[in-house]
C-alpha cells in the first residue's frame, strides 16, 4: 500500500507594530468606531497619493534579519489590481517581483533534531478593510479602519511535513517576531493570519502534486485541525484512485463543521495585472542601515533558551515555558538576578506567576517582589505554604513582602522550645493517633504533622516540626 507524504507551505500575514498606517497618518488602533481612523488617502478618494511609513521599512528589514533572510537593497512596490468591496482603490499596493527580503529560514525542533524551514520571501503590503455581515440585515457594512494597516507577508518553502510541524513553526515564528518587536502576533485579533497550502504525494517522490489553499483559521489549534482534516481528505481521494477530484482551489476552514469547504469562486484565477506603483519611486536601502538593524535585534527565543538552560540549569521544557512570552522570560531573569535562586524562581514562575498571568493578562507584581519572597523563604522567615499566602496578597494589593509578613505576623516559627511545646500539646490531645502510629499506622504521622502545623497556624518550620515530632514519637 502506498505511503503518502504531506507537503505544506505557509503564507503568513503579520500586522506591523506601527503608530500610523502604511501610506497615511491614520492611527492603527484596534476596535474603534467604524471608519473613524480613515482619511482621503486610505479611503482611496480621487487625487490622493501614498507616502511610505519609515517604520514599516525598518520593521520589515528587522523581520528579514530575524529570519535569516537576504535583504534586497533595491526593492519596489507594485499594484495588485482586483475588485472587492474591502479594497478602496481596487488595487492593493504590495510587492511583486522585487520583495524586500528573500531566502531565509527558521530552525525548528523536530523530536530533538533541528529542521530548517525555508522562507522564500517577505514582502510589504497594505491591509484591506473589513466587511461586517449582520445576521438579519440584507446588506453588508464596510469598515475601513483596518484598510492601510501595514502588513508583511511571509511565505515559506513547502518544507513542512505535518500539522505538528506547522504549529511548531508558527509558534517559533511568533516568538521571533514578538521578541523583535515587529508585531504582537495575536491570531485571535487578526494581527497574525495564516493560510495553508497543502498537497499530498507518495513518499520518496520529488514532484509536487495539486495543492489546495486553506483559509480562515483563527488560532494555532484551528490550523492544526484544518491541516489534519484536509490531509486526510486528500489522502482518502488518492487511496480510492480519485486524486483527480483534487483541484487547485481555495477552501475555507469551517470551525463549527470541522471541515474544509470549497469557496464559491465567481472569477477564475485572478489576473492581477501587476505593474510597478507609479506613485512610489524605488526603495533603496543601505548596507549600513541593514547592519544597524541586525545589531539592534534582541536575543531571540532559541538563543535565549539555550543560554538560560546553560546559565540557570533549566530543563528544555522549563526554558520553553519561560520563553514563550518575552515578558515572562524578562521577568524571570530579573527575579533570578536578585534572588540568586534560578531553580526556585523557575518553580514559582511556572506554578504561580504564569497562572496569574493567564487569568489577568498582566503580572501585577514586580520581579523584585518575587525575588524578595523567594529570599525570605530561603532565609527561613516564612515557609513555602505561608509564602503562597503572601504571594496572593501581593497580587491583590500593592504591599511589599515585608509589609505583609510584618502586619500579619507570618514569620515562621523556628524556636525549638516553642515548637516542642506545640508538639507536646498535640501529642497529648491526640492519644489515639499516637497509639495508631505506634502500632504501625504510618499515616497517623501525617495526621499529627497536620495538627502541629495547624496549631502553629501554618507558620511552624516544617522540617523542624517533623524532626521534633519524630523524636518525641520514638521516645
Amino acid at each position: 500500500m502506498a505511503v503518502y507524504e504531506t507537503v505544506i507551505g505557509l503564507e503568513i500575514h503579520v500586522e506591523l507594530a506601527t503608530n500610523s498606517k502604511i501610506f497615511c497618518a491614520c492611527a492603527t488602533s484596534f476596535g474603534d468606531e467604524p471608519n473613524v481612523n480613515t482619511c482621503p488617502v486610505c479611503l482611496g478618494l480621487p487625487g490622493v497619493m501614498p507616502v511610505l511609513n519609515k517604520s514599516v521599512v525598518e520593521l520589515a528589514i528587522k523581520a528579514g534579519c530575524s529570519l535569516n533572510c537576504e535583504i534586497n537593497l533595491i526593492n519596489k512596490m507594485d499594484r495588485k489590481n482586483y475588485f472587492y468591496p474591502d479594497l478602496p482603490k481596487a488595487y492593493q499596493i504590495s510587492q511583486y517581483d522585487l520583495p524586500i527580503c528573500v531566502n531565509g529560514f527558521v530552525d525548528i525542533d523536530k523530536h530533538g533534531e533541528r529542521k530548517k524551514i525555508g522562507i522564500t520571501r517577505i514582502h510589504i503590503e497594505e491591509d484591506a478593510g473589513k466587511l461586517i455581515h449582520i445576521e438579519d440585515q440584507n446588506d453588508t457594512l464596510i469598515d475601513y479602519n483596518r484598510g492601510g494597516i501595514p502588513l508583511i507577508e511571509i511565505v515559506t518553502e513547502p518544507d513542512i511535513r505535518s500539522a505538528e510541524e506547522a504549529v511548531t513553526f508558527l509558534k517559533d515564528l511568533r516568538g521571533i517576531l514578538v521578541y523583535s518587536g515587529i508585531s504582537d502576533c495575536k491570531m485571535e485579533q487578526g494581527s497574525m493570519r495564516c493560510d495553508v497550502n497543502i498537497s499530498i504525494r507518495e513518499l520518496g517522490s520529488k514532484t509536487l502534486r495539486t495543492k489546495v489553499e486553506i483559509k480562515n483559521m483563527n488560532s494555532m489549534k484551528e490550523v492544526y485541525k484544518a491541516i489534519k482534516k484536509e490531509e486526510s481528505r486528500q489522502i482518502e481521494l488518492y487511496r480510492f484512485g480519485e486524486g483527480y477530484k483534487i483541484i487547485q482551489e481555495t477552501r475555507r476552514w469551517d470551525a463549527s463543521k470541522g471541515k474544509t469547504v470549497s469557496m464559491r469562486t465567481k472569477e477564475d484565477a485572478h489576473d492581477y495585472r501587476y505593474f510597478p506603483e507609479p506613485d512610489l519611486p524605488k526603495l533603496i536601502i543601505s548596507e549600513g542601515q541593514v547592519k544597524d538593524i541586525k545589531q539592534s535585534l534582541p536575543e531571540l527565543p532559541k538563543d535565549k533558551r539555550k543560554r538560560m538552560m546553560r546559565e540557570y540549569g533549566l530543563t528544555d521544557k522549563e526554558a520553553r515555558v519561560l520563553t514563550e512570552e518575552k515578558l515572562v522570560g524578562d521577568f524571570y531573569e530579573a527575579a533570578v538576578k536578585l534572588s540568586g535562586k534560578p531553580k526556585e524562581t523557575a518553580n514559582w514562575m511556572m506554578t504561580e506567576v504564569l497562572r496569574v498571568l493567564k487569568a489577568e493578562s498582566v503580572i501585577p507584581i514586580t520581579s523584585k517582589q518575587l525575588a524578595e519572597l523567594i529570599i525570605e523563604v530561603e532565609k527561613g522567615t516564612i515557609n513555602r505554604t505561608v509564602a503562597k499566602e503572601v504571594f496572593e496578597e501581593m497580587i491583590n494589593t500593592d504591599r511589599s513582602v515585608f509589609q505583609i509578613i510584618e502586619t500579619r505576623g507570618l514569620q515562621q516559627i523556628s524556636a525549638q522550645n516553642i515548637l516542642e511545646e506545640v508538639v507536646d500539646k498535640v501529642l497529648t490531645e491526640n492519644s489515639k493517633a499516637v497509639a495508631d502510629y505506634q502500632v504501625g499506622k504510618t499515616q497517623s504521622f501525617g495526621f499529627l504533622m497536620g495538627q502541629c502545623m495547624k496549631a502553629t497556624k501554618g507558620q511552624g518550620n516544617p522540617n523542624k516540626v517533623r524532626i521534633i515530632l519524630e523524636n518525641k514519637l520514638t521516645q
Partner: protein, 94 residues
C-alpha cells in the same frame, strides 16, 4: 493577437463594465485598429533597454506619527449609503 468579441467581453468584465451587444462590433474594430497601430512598438529593437534606470534617489519616507483627519464630515458626505459611520452595500455572500 487577434481581437475578437470574446476578447472585448473579457476586457469589459475585468474592468467591471457592461457593453451593449450592438457596441461590441464597434469596439472590436476600434481596438483592432488601435492595438495594431500601437503594437508596432514591438518592431523596435529594444533589447538594450531592459534594465531599469538607476535613479539613485530612494523613495522619500514618512515619520511614523499618527494624525487624526479632522474633516470627517466632509469625508462622509460623499458616501451615498451609510449606517452610522459604516458604509452600506448590498449583502455580499462569500
Amino acid at each position: 493577437m487577434k481581437i475578437t468579441r470574446e476578447t472585448v467581453k473579457e476586457m469589459a468584465a475585468l474592468a467591471k463594465l457592461r457593453l451593449k451587444e450592438e457596441d461590441i462590433e464597434t469596439y472590436v474594430k476600434e481596438f483592432t485598429e488601435i492595438l495594431h497601430h500601437f503594437g508596432q512598438i514591438g518592431e523596435e529593437d529594444l533589447t538594450q533597454w531592459t534594465d531599469e534606470d538607476l535613479n539613485s534617489e530612494s523613495v522619500r519616507l514618512r515619520e511614523d506619527k499618527a494624525c487624526f483627519f479632522e474633516n470627517k464630515e466632509g469625508l462622509y458626505r460623499n458616501i451615498k449609503n451609510r449606517q452610522g459611520t459604516a458604509i452600506r452595500i448590498p449583502k455580499i455572500v462569500d
